[in-house]
Symmetry: C2
Subunit: 347 residues, 2 copies
């Protein structure tokens, strides 16, 4: 087997005796903040998933969106997290039968093809490879694997992605911070930082965000925000300020409230665009369809509940939208030390 980069990532395969000849699959959820890979044994095909899932190992790494951190860093993260999951499970690449990579930043067939070509250099040719946008995995996580309905992700980035029952698909947003993902965590936080600069230089109204954000970042003046912002291109680092914006909005700050309200409208608009293009709501706009909602921005469950507000907005137009918030509880069972997943669904 070839290696994408020289050496050390796959060294464990020579150093550790492989536990068994069990065949495994790798499933990977790659986001702009973090990337998770699980290793599972191959199971007989079934309409229902075992509960708990027999997860052999789980590995976590950072951002794997090539648009955010560049292609080299994204690939290293993906390769490392797959190697970690295999190593933890006591397997190696010869045990792998299939790899499913669901990665943010896969926006075009050429993105998919590039990653597939690269995976072919890592795994033997008989391994089945699937590469999709992470929204596809997020939808499946809320529909027990069925690709029908719409998913809205709002974490560091945001995307709405939908499928009809006959396999047509559509997406909206997911184009990153330069291209108007204003409802994302990055979008919310960048507008809050902008509000601080504008309040400071006289272009915008006074806002509590100024003192709160400067205090959070340990800065003494708004001018220092410029250097802080460009010192590191990571999108996740900016998005981490969302809780500060929510707390200012809850404390009554008008600027913070306006930013969150606009984000809600943007997120709802993404879903509506997908639902409309796919006709998920039927001709009378009342058909029911699953609407899976995931990501830190939607799951914060603060008093200012962005997820609930988005759902309220969508329900007005599409009363048949059935919100699903998939929750996955991870239990590390002893004495085997293996991870098991208990999927929980809140409909």
């Amino acid at each position: 087997m070839k290696r994408y980069r020289n050496g050390e990532i796959w060294d464990f395969e020579h150093e550790v005796a492989v536990a068994s000849n069990r065949q495994v699959i790798l499933g990977l959820d790659g986001g702009t903040t973090s990337t998770v890979c699980i290793c599972m044994p191959i199971m007989p095909f079934s309409d229902t998933l075992p509960d708990p899932l027999p997860v052999l190992a789980r590995a976590v790494a950072g951002c794997s969106n090539h648009n955010s951190v560049g292609e080299t860093a994204a690939r290293e993260t993906l390769e490392q997290v797959m190697a970690d999951a295999l190593s933890k499970s006591g397997s190696n690449r010869s045990a792998v039968r299939a790899v499913c990579l669901a990665v943010s930043g896969v926006n075009h067939p050429t993105d998919e093809q590039r990653i597939l070509t690269w995976l072919r250099d890592i795994f033997p040719s008989h391994v089945k490879l699937y590469v999709r946008n992470d929204a596809v995995a997020a939808l499946a996580s809320g529909t027990m694997g069925k690709l029908h309905g719409c998913v809205l992700i709002a974490g560091t980035g945001t995307i709405a992605y939908g499928f009809t029952e006959d396999g047509r698909e559509a997406r909206a947003a997911g184009a990153g911070p330069v291209l108007g993902d204003w409802g994302s965590g990055y979008g919310i936080a960048a507008l809050a930082l902008t509000a601080v600069i504008r309040a400071h230089d006289g272009r915008g109204p006074h806002t509590m965000l100024e003192s709160t954000i400067l205090q959070t970042l340990g800065l003494s003046s708004a001018d220092e925000l410029i250097g802080w912002t460009y010192a590191d291109p990571s999108w996740a680092r900016i998005a981490a300020l969302v809780p500060v914006v929510v707390s200012c909005a809850e404390a009554g700050d008008e600027v913070a409230n306006k930013i969150l309200k606009e984000a809600v409208q943007e997120l709802a608009l993404s879903v509506k665009a997908v639902v409309q293009r796919l006709g998920l709501c039927g001709e009378d706009e009342k058909n029911s369809f699953p609407l899976v909602m995931v990501g830190g921005v939607l799951e914060a469950n603060q008093r200012w509940d962005i997820g609930r507000e988005v759902m309220d907005f969508i329900s007005k137009d599409y009363p048949g939208a059935l919100p699903i918030r998939p929750k996955v509880i991870i239990v590390k069972s002893s004495p085997s030390g293996r991870y098991k997943y208990y999927p929980h669904y809140c409909v």
Copy 2:
């Protein structure tokens, strides 16, 4: 003399015999798209500048805004362009008496201090060093060197910067694309790219920008724009699309027109914030003050004339604002091969 990076930048000092022991100064205008350094002989102090200016050499390089390309690349550009100007003039660093660096991205005393410390490693200790935001040089270029009034730069980036006659100063915008410089060339172009994505995925209205921008970039679908956008972090590369937006607006595209109108309001707002904070317009808001306007966005002089629209907006509030558009004509005189500057002012 020490060297910031190993070797080759200053190698010419050993290889070429220095023409004379003439003393020189270096003046550098560093922007987000390009950086220009001129080398001039020291002249007796005078209220008027010689016309044409006795420029010995001129060197041009790319972006030197550390917030855009990172600190290492910005420094290399600054060092290279200074070395090129000295080399072309037949001088070396021992002839330099003063260096004035006016660089975009100098937003805080720590930025200034960092560059000064680094310059100290390049030049002998007796050389006088000045580091300022490039807006300060831009203002001086329109006021024959006097720091009074307000300057608006709108090129790849944008900033408004002003001085009172008694030396108080204020600025607005200039915080880069993440922090709301929506009137900049980058801001205009990023909103146009966003409009293409939104038209394509159903969130926004149809716009002529879609076909025009895709054609300009040689792309076949809007999805490809995402990869194109993040393939290169250069701000100038995005801003280069402004002429496409202007041509679509001139052809009657509503989306493009809205983007330009909002940019005009943003640019005017930056100037107003500075004028207001410094009280440049006096208590009755009618005092006259110079308003220097520079940068590709303001100077395009298309039928859709952004600079004129901005001026119209500002004049409504401050009838005393005196627009100045400095123009510098460069003539390479023969047979000496030396550059001479003929400053021209349009009031």
